[in-house]
């Protein structure tokens, strides 16, 4: 059994600590990777990848007969990457619009996942009961080994972003220029998308296939409200993800019958709502004040009209 860090162990129940560590690590890494994804306008891609994981999770159980988290997540990663490949293919071959292609891959892979899972449940495949829990996550049931797995992957992902920061920035902000300057833009883009897929998969146990996109997308959007520069945005998004994880776990451990994953997502959404109002320059308050200074009290209404 893992020894508990002294003070924290005395204050918090063991399970709270384990779950908090796992979820916070995932939240942080998802925020960091999500920043690049969101800047590259890949938010929906994350959603497609998330929904595609179900197929892989189901197949992994079917083929190996094992329920260990690592095996199931490996399966999820496989199908997520396959779905992303399919997405690229559809875009390239059929010249379907980006959003339409994403929607197709998202819904079809999700449908396939549901069919597989309910088929397995109906046929009584051993261990398939509770598999649908990957829909909403099962953060409260994380064990120390699970948390270690999630933590390790999260750290590796953050390291990968740190190492490739310059390349990623280039491709994220100006892919055309990056390509013209001789960068392997397509390759970098692929790695970025793969990292997003990894984060989505690692976030599965925490938030489930339906909600994990929120972990990848909301923290960067929050961070974007506060800063225009990339590195602060990365750090801030990581921080928001981490804080959402910790606060969400704390809230769900404070009162019974609150599922942990959805609460974490709600906390992140709360950060977003607050940022919308109070963020400097972009926040509603700041814009309202700026409008006042220029003697244009209807500034807000005008921006609404222009949208």
């Amino acid at each position: 059994m893992m020894p508990l860090p002294g003070v924290l162990g005395a204050l918090l129940p063991y399970n709270t600590l384990v779950v908090a560590c796992g979820v916070a690590a995932v939240g942080c890494a998802a925020g960091v990777v999500g920043t690049l994804g969101v800047l590259r306008r890949r938010a929906l891609v994350a959603d497609a990848a998330a929904h595609a994981t179900l197929v892989g999770v189901a197949l992994a159980l079917l083929v190996t007969g094992q329920r260990s988290l690592a095996v199931l997540l490996a399966g999820g990663l496989g199908s997520a990457i396959l779905a992303l490949g399919l997405l690229v293919l559809i875009r390239a071959v059929t010249r379907t619009r980006d959003d339409a292609a994403t929607a197709i891959v998202l819904s079809v892979s999700f449908g396939l996942g549901i069919v597989l899972i309910s088929g397995m449940v109906a046929r009584g495949v051993p261990g398939s009961g509770g598999l649908e829990r990957f829909l909403l996550g099962h953060a409260a049931a994380l064990t120390a080994a699970d948390a270690m797995l999630l933590g390790t992957v999260s750290v590796l992902v953050i390291l990968a972003v740190a190492i490739g920061l310059k390349e990623a920035t280039m491709v994220a902000f100006d892919p055309a220029f990056a390509a013209a300057a001789g960068w392997p833009a397509a390759m970098i883009d692929l790695v970025l998308v793969a990292l997003v897929a990894v984060m989505v998969v690692v976030g599965l146990p925490a938030a489930g296939a339906v909600l994990v996109t929120a972990l990848v997308v909301i923290p960067p959007v929050v961070a974007r409200q506060w800063t225009d520069r990339l590195v602060p945005m990365l750090v801030l998004a990581g921080g928001v993800g981490l804080a959402s994880g910790v606060i969400g776990v704390a809230v769900s451990s404070a009162s019974p019958r609150l599922p942990t994953g959805p609460v974490v997502v709600l906390v992140a959404a709360g950060c977003f709502a607050v940022s919308l109002v109070v963020a400097p320059r972009r926040g509603l308050l700041a814009r309202w004040r700026a409008g006042h200074r220029r003697g244009r009290t209807d500034y807000l209404l005008m921006t609404e009209d222009h949208r």
Partner: protein
């Protein structure tokens, strides 16, 4: 011709339930293995019974396939547990009930014997209270008798015999559970399928999740459970055949961090019976197998070590 006759003889041997005509008198579809067992006990060899859900399936999240709709459409009698156990089949069943007899076992029981779970609903897991379950055979015998008047007396008699057997089972279960000290008579499982069992046999039953497998345990529930296990020194918890064991692994770890070793007491039959030939292929055998598992794990903690190691 001879070949055809031989084939005919062999085929008739294969028919599960030959009556005088070599044909089952009534074709029954039961929703779960537990219900199918009851129907089989009452109907005996005169009828054919199949269960929609196989062994080891969780009825709460079971979705009907087109094949199920077909099987239900071909059945002459449908027997369901009712009380919303067959959550996702409910609409299909109620639509079916306008066209052919559908018996809902739970609905045939007196309401004051049922455990309310709020919103006017009742806990559907009625089968592990042998005394309560013994009130169900009559309804099945009546429904079968209406469809097969020639066999009505036979069904009634079989139902009466089975009811007596269940009454005997009830005493047997009670006697065996007495071996567990009262303080430790706590059954912790991943699923509240044992509330009637707990009420009938004076066992405190605590689920990691709600009654339905669909509600997810929050972290607070997990912490509360760890506290309980540690403070009452409960030596074992129980995993069921049809529900995932992830929550219990987290519980074990939490308790171990506070110095209380919690073993897995072994698997209990819950929403589904075992495969034919297993120690839980009928309700009677499944209930006794559960009691053996529970007594072994809670009465003598040392014994359950080997179970956990299996």
């Amino acid at each position: 011709m001879l070949r055809l006759m031989i084939f005919g003889v062999i085929a008739s041997l294969w028919l599960p339930v030959p009556t005088a005509w070599g044909e089952p008198a009534v074709r029954v579809v039961a929703t779960t293995t537990v219900v199918a067992d009851l129907v089989r006990q009452v109907g005996g060899d005169r009828i054919a019974v199949e269960s929609l859900m196989a062994e080891g399936v969780d009825p709460h999240s079971y979705r009907a396939t087109p094949r199920d709709a077909n099987r239900l459409a071909r059945a002459e009698l449908v027997v369901a547990n009712g009380l919303h156990l067959e959550g996702k089949l409910a609409t299909l069943l109620s639509r079916l009930s306008s066209r052919r007899p559908v018996v809902f076992l739970g609905e045939s029981l007196p309401e004051e014997r049922l455990l309310p779970i709020g919103n006017g609903l009742f806990d559907p897991h009625i089968w592990f209270d042998a005394a309560l379950w013994s009130q169900c055979p009559t309804a099945v015998a009546a429904a079968l008798g209406k469809l097969d008047p020639a066999g009505a007396a036979n069904y009634r008699q079989r139902a009466a015999v089975y009811t007596t057997r269940l009454a005997h089972l009830d005493t047997q279960v009670r006697d065996r559970l007495a071996a567990i000290p009262a303080r430790r008579r706590v059954l912790i499982t991943a699923h509240d399928a044992f509330r009637y069992f707990g009420r009938a046999y004076d066992v405190e039953v605590i689920g990691v999740q709600g009654t339905s497998t669909e509600s997810e345990a929050g972290l607070a529930d997990m912490n509360r459970l760890v506290e309980l296990v540690v403070s009452r020194q409960i030596p074992a918890v129980f995993v069921e055949t049809s529900v995932s064991d992830r929550n219990l692994m987290a519980l074990q770890e939490g308790a171990a961090a506070r110095g209380q070793q919690v073993r897995l007491g072994g698997r209990l039959y819950s929403d589904a019976l075992g495969a034919p030939g297993s120690d839980g292929d009928t309700l009677e055998r499944a209930l006794l197998a559960n009691v053996t598992t529970i007594v072994r794990a809670l009465a003598d903690p040392e014994m359950s070590a080997e179970v956990a190691d299996e």
